[in-house]
């Protein structure tokens, strides 16, 4: 019943990616407002407000600590919401994929293109935070630019699971489970707002299983001018999540679309 073949990477995925980019460009103003407005609120409200009481965390001013965590988490959030809501919209109510499948495009092109697109949107939102942080003086090292490709990898890593969930969902409501049980806990426990080391031991080992912790473990030092440790290990975890979830997303979307 299931088609277990490996995803085929074809040029068609660029067409799918490009279609989404064109839509995004049409809605540029509201998109940018969201991309820049949200981090401003977080950084000003939490970073400066809370920062006054917290002072320094892990040797960093709180604003800098928070900003470097948000670079990672915003790619996660953005890629996830695109992979859940937008992919579902194109798959079910809008039947965009049905239209694409009447052209030379195939299901594998759609999944690969959507993965790329979700990660691209993640990259956009992380870059916006980086820029805002720079303007606020929270981040000033040139090596922080390396966070941009990393935010793309982080996006891939969360796009796959989100598309998987969208592929077997029957309605938008179903996404509440994923957001409440998976996404929000990661946002809160994986070190965006405080160091993971403040958690109890068992919780620390649990958190190490989650990809956001690994994204932050590389992105935070890079953004703040420190040298990241165990880079290969962290990147491998992210890459593994991206690849395995890409494979599963392809298998599951095939099942949904090819009947």
């Amino acid at each position: 019943m299931l088609d277990w073949r490996l995803p085929r990477m074809r040029h068609g995925m660029i067409h799918v990616w490009r279609r989404n980019l064109l839509v995004w460009r049409k809605l540029l103003v509201p998109s940018l407002l969201l991309n820049f407005g949200e981090p401003f609120l977080y950084l000003l409200g939490l970073g400066l407000g809370l920062g006054r009481f917290v002072g320094e965390l892990g040797g960093l001013p709180y604003l800098t600590f928070l900003a470097s965590g948000l670079i990672a988490s915003s790619s996660m959030n953005t890629a996830t919401f695109e992979g859940l809501f937008s992919v579902y919209t194109r798959m079910v109510p809008q039947q965009t994929y049905e239209g694409m499948l009447a052209t030379p495009l195939e299901v594998d092109d759609i999944v690969a293109g959507e993965m790329l697109w979700c990660a691209t949107k993640g990259l956009f939102s992380s870059s916006a935070i980086l820029l805002v942080s720079f303007l606020l003086g929270a981040i000033s090292h040139w090596q922080a630019l390396l966070c941009i490709p990393l935010s793309f990898l982080t996006g891939l890593c969360f796009a796959g699971p989100a598309i998987m969930v969208a592929s077997f969902s029957r309605s938008y409501d179903f996404f509440n489970y994923y957001v409440t049980l998976v996404l929000t806990p990661m946002f809160i426990f994986c070190g965006v707002f405080y160091p993971v080391t403040t958690l109890p031991d068992f919780a620390q080992s649990l958190v190490q299983l989650l990809p956001l912790s690994h994204a932050i473990a590389v992105i935070r030092p890079l953004a703040t001018g420190q040298e990241p440790t165990q880079v290969i290990a962290h990147l491998s975890v992210l890459l593994a999540f991206a690849l395995v979830s890409f494979y599963w997303a392809t298998v599951l979307v095939r099942r949904r679309l090819v009947q």
Binding site: H15, R19, Q95, A102, P104, V258
Partner: protein
């Protein structure tokens, strides 16, 4: 290689173990218009989806444009245009952008494209709507845009799944005119419909299917000749007034549906003489048409789909 644009042998499709297409053979010649007729749930859309390589065959052999489906489906679709049963235009784009983006999926871009899109918009009379969003189009405009979109790649085969269902007579006639033009320019048309008038006007060959099997095939006129007498007298009236009209000899040429008797015959004068002076009875004398064949073959009971 061969003279058929589509060659299907023993096509079967099952969903969850239940067969909805049960061994369909099709031979669609190059050029002309081929009609796939059948009531709701007959398996028309499922058959088309297999032909397009969108739905894997459960059994059978299928060749389109001389190539095996599904092996070469993606390649074959370069030369096919599809007008789906339910419009799936992209609501995030305008009319013009819809065509442009869709052309991109075929790797078409650059110089000639803009011109081609202009021609297509003119062809379906949507030039004024070029920069309008999809949700501001009427149903008829959407269907016309779907047809234009299906033509961006200059297809050799145009597949239309119930192209005129739900449209008003003006749009329907306009679309028929355009389809006839396409046919004349050499495009092969494959269409499904349950409009018999549409099939009679457009199709050179038709297949009537129901419950996943083909019941009959041939040219529309030939099918009428084969399955029903050439003339029909429809008799409407109070059921009480009717028994006096029919005799036992008539049983085999009559179908009764609700308050109407359909009387199939070679010599209508005799029955007309019997009904014309009855006060409570009205009648209509007309040539037999494809709808009579369709109803004879697929039965008159309603479909619960």
């Amino acid at each position: 290689m061969n003279n058929f644009i589509i060659k299907a042998e023993n096509l079967k499709k099952s969903f969850n173990g239940e067969f909805v297409v049960k061994g369909v053979d099709l031979q669609v010649p190059f050029g002309g218009c081929f009609g796939l007729l059948g009531p709701n749930g007959a398996g028309k859309t499922t058959t088309l989806r297999m032909i397009l390589g969108q739905s894997p065959l459960s059994e059978g052999n299928l060749e389109v444009l001389g190539m095996d489906v599904p092996t070469h489906a993606s390649h074959i679709r370069r030369d096919i245009g599809v007008v789906p049963q339910l419009d799936n235009l992209d609501p995030d784009f305008t009319v013009m952008e819809n065509l442009k983006v869709y052309a991109g999926f075929f790797n078409l871009r650059g110089g000639g494209l803009q011109e081609r899109i202009g021609e297509l918009l003119k062809f379906v009379e949507l030039t004024e709507k070029a920069n309008v969003r999809i949700n501001q189009l009427s149903g008829g405009m959407k269907r016309r845009l779907s047809i234009a979109r299906a033509l961006v790649n200059n297809p050799r085969l145009l597949v239309l799944d119930e192209p005129t269902t739900g449209l008003d007579p003006q749009v329907r006639h306009m679309i028929w005119g355009r389809l006839r033009e396409l046919k004349q320019s050499g495009t092969t048309l494959l269409l499904t419909t349950h409009f018999m008038e549409e099939a009679e006007r457009l199709c050179d060959d038709i297949v009537i299917m129901d419950h996943g099997v083909i019941l009959s095939k041939g040219h529309p006129k030939q099918l009428i000749k084969q399955h029903v007498e050439p003339e029909v007298v429809e008799i409407h009236g109070e059921m009480d007034a009717l028994p006096g009209i029919l005799t036992e000899h008539d049983i085999h040429r009559v179908e009764i549906v609700g308050e109407t008797i359909y009387y199939f015959t070679n010599a209508p004068d005799e029955i007309i003489r019997r009904v014309e002076n009855k006060p409570d009875v009205h009648y209509l004398h007309r040539p037999a048409n494809l709808e009579d064949v369709f109803l004879r073959l697929t039965g008159r009971e309603l479909r619960e789909i």
